[in-house]
């Protein structure tokens, strides 16, 4: 009855993929953040899983650290942002609903196409999980293109980071624990800076919608 390990990993990977897809469709910022929270939680599961497998205490500690940063601190900051600047609904996207879904489908098809086929030779047991995480990467880049709000751009970057880390874990390419500490510390600084920038943008431009920021062009 117990699912094999690879099936569980594949299931978790599909959850990340679905979170990335839903980020396009959701309208309220708060649901956007909760989707991000789900994604980072799954990534922590991956880390704990590999920590157990390689039974290295350092990796365990890294997992906790990531959990702390990605699941608790980042969403806390974002909710603070939403409350402070009462940005309830995200500004709309450039493409309407159905077309976004069409593009997402194309991207997933592309991820599974022969262009990325060499990547499947990377790992034996769960190639389709790998391709799913690749699709998640492409979709989160597209999220950046599609969304107009500052907040959604932040979440887009972070979900791209999650997708890459999940890709790494699936292909066992993840960096050594102390490297990961560096990365997560880097991410933390990034979140703080972005938070401060959101404050400054709101103070100067009055709204958190990025379309207002288009006066830096060649006259």
């Amino acid at each position: 009855m117990m699912f094999t390990l690879s099936q569980i990993i594949f299931l978790l990977e599909t959850l990340i993929f679905l979170a990335a897809v839903f980020m396009h469709l959701v309208h309220k910022n708060s649901s956007l953040i909760s989707l991000y929270r789900v994604q980072s939680f799954i990534v922590c599961i991956f880390i704990f899983g590999s920590a157990i497998v390689t039974s290295s205490a350092l990796l365990m500690f890294v997992g906790i650290l990531i959990f702390g940063v990605k699941v608790i601190v980042a969403p806390y900051f974002f909710t603070k942002l939403i409350k402070a600047y009462h940005v309830k609904s995200t500004s709309s996207t450039y493409l309407n609903g159905p077309t976004t879904l069409l593009v997402v489908a194309v991207l997933t098809g592309l991820a599974h196409s022969h262009y990325f086929q060499p990547l499947t030779t990377l790992v034996g047991e769960n190639p389709d999980g790998l391709l799913l995480s690749l699709a998640a990467i492409l979709i989160s880049i597209f999220l950046l293109i599609n969304r107009k709000g500052i907040l959604s751009q932040m979440v887009g970057i972070l979900s791209l980071e999650n997708a890459i880390v999940s890709f790494a874990f699936l292909s066992e390419l993840e960096a050594t624990p102390n490297m990961q500490i560096g990365i997560i510390f880097d991410l933390l600084v990034w979140i703080i800076i972005v938070y401060i920038f959101a404050g400054m943008i709101h103070e100067k431009f009055g709204t958190l919608d990025s379309t207002v920021m288009n006066n830096l062009k060649e006259e």
């Binding site: 390689t54 990377l122 970057i157 390419l173 050594t176 920038f197 400054m200 100067k204 431009f205």
Partner: protein
């Protein structure tokens, strides 16, 4: 040992400058002393590398030929920029644009920035290099939005988002690059040495994919054309010493990253693949700015676009390989010197005329004789007029490329001529022009000229006489490409 000195000094200066409370010259003096010590340490490392090929501190830090050249650039431009920013910020503070706390913040972030750059060049592990380049982005984000005007914040925001996206793609590339490390639990600390050691284990298909991710990722940091959009905004809105550091130094470091990966890709897949990509990106990076420069209205953006174009020429140089690589490295050196000279001189012009628009800057040769002449020399150097080095390197890059890519060279040469035409139009309008009405004559901040003159002297000396130890190091560095 010398590397430790460098990092130590920077950390100490960060501490000191954060402690300084009251308005005093201490900030500036700390910065200048720190950069002088860094320069001395770099020179020490330089002749270490010249003597025994490589200078390794521990398994984490290693300075090879190319590394020491970029370190030299960082040290020299760092010294000149911090020396200039002391005077520059003084005047800005006197005019009440910025308060003392901002100046303190400026110097702290400046030290972080230089630390991150040194770190990026010196580390042996690609992921550590990625982290330090990410750190440079973060440290400069606030420096770009230094004047906290809406346009500065917009530029900083765009800079932040685009560079983070680029670096994440680069991160994916780095991960893919080290795919043979699966399974073997080697303490996971992958270094360049390890990669070049067991090249056989690499799978060519994955490497081809990975190199594209690397090229696009770090190419965003270098500012090659399709990914260049953040560069003109960021470099024109940042305070002048920072934009000279950004244009002169940071672009070279990012290019160094790409070249480190290129060495491995060439070993695995053969040189033609990476050279073809570099030539393609290099050519469009020369073409697009060529047209934009022709009708540019703002002289700081003009200099930013010229940085993109010169990075395109360097990419062409490495794309052609062989003698082209040697000329490309030298081109990097000359470009960083000339570009920071031009940016610092434009800083003086900005202080005097208060606007970055070309149309309300005129008669600079009369009002600012010193800066005017230096700006003109910089213009002649940057557009590749003979007495200066850039002409020599551009011609030898074209010579290296003519053998197999005639049409690429033909288009590049004509684009360079178009750039010269555009540049001359703007510079002639700024330098000469009718008698300005109420602009008072004479330089604004007295000690601003000295650093620029130092740069001009170094450029002229290097154009004519290349010291042979520098020459041999460059040749050795270019052998790999």
């Amino acid at each position: 040992m010398a590397l430790l000195i460098i990092f130590g000094i920077i950390l100490i200066s960060i501490l000191l400058s954060s402690l300084v409370k009251k308005r005093s010259q201490a900030l500036g003096r700390v910065a200048i002393v720190a950069s002088i010590i860094e320069l001395l340490a770099t020179l020490f490392v330089f002749n270490q590398v010249f003597k025994n090929g490589v200078y390794a501190l521990s398994s984490y830090f290693l300075v090879d030929y190319f590394g020491i050249i970029v370190m030299l650039i960082i040290a020299v431009i760092g010294l000149v920029a911090s020396w200039y920013s002391v005077g520059y910020l003084e005047v800005e503070m006197a005019r009440g644009f910025i308060g003392y706390s901002r100046v303190k913040q400026f110097f702290i972030l400046l030290h972080f920035f230089i630390l991150a750059m040194f770190f990026a060049v010196v580390t042996t592990s690609p992921i550590l290099m990625w982290i330090s380049i990410e750190a440079t982005t973060l440290s400069t984000a606030f420096l770009i939005s230094f004047y906290s005007k809406p346009s500065a914040i917009e530029a900083a925001w765009k800079y932040l988002i685009i560079n983070s996206l680029g670096l994440l793609i680069g991160f994916l590339g780095t991960l893919l690059f080290f795919h043979p490390a699966i399974g073997n639990p080697h303490n996971g600390f992958l270094t360049w040495g390890w990669a070049t050691a067991n090249v056989s284990k690499f799978d060519p298909h994955i490497i081809r994919l990975a190199f594209i991710f690397i090229l696009i990722g770090y190419g965003t940091k270098v500012g090659l054309v399709p990914m260049h959009t953040w560069l003109p905004d960021a470099h024109s809105k940042a305070p002048v010493p920072i934009s000279s550091l950004l244009s002169g130094v940071l672009l070279n470091i990012a290019f160094l990253a790409i070249l480190r990966f290129k060495v491995i890709t060439d070993l695995v897949v053969g040189a033609a693949y990476s050279q073809g990509l570099l030539i393609f990106l290099g050519l469009i990076s020369v073409l697009v700015p060529a047209f934009i420069i022709f009708t540019q209205k703002n002289y700081k953006r003009l200099l930013a676009y010229s940085s993109i174009e010169h990075m395109g020429v360097v990419a062409l140089g490495f794309g052609f390989g062989g003698a082209g690589a040697f000329a490309a490295i030298l081109h990097m050196l000359y470009h960083s010197l000339t570009k920071s000279l031009l940016f610092l001189a434009s800083g003086n012009i900005f202080l005097k005329y208060g606007s970055t628009k070309i149309k309300n800057v005129a008669n600079v040769l009369k009002t600012l004789p010193g800066t005017g002449i230096l700006f003109f020399i910089g213009f002649l150097a940057i557009t590749g007029m003979p007495p200066f080095g850039i002409f020599l390197t551009e011609v030898s890059i074209m010579v290296a490329g003519i053998k197999s890519y005639f049409w690429v060279v033909a288009v590049a040469v004509l684009a360079l001529a178009l750039i010269f035409a555009g540049f001359l139009r703007h510079i002639a309008a700024m330098m000469f022009g009718g008698p300005e009405k109420e602009i008072s004559l004479g330089e604004v901040n007295k000690n601003a000229l000295a650093p620029i003159i130092l740069l001009a002297v170094i450029l002229l000396v290097l154009s004519f006489y290349l010291p042979n130890n520098l020459k041999s190091i460059i040749t050795l560095a270019s052998l790999a490409y």
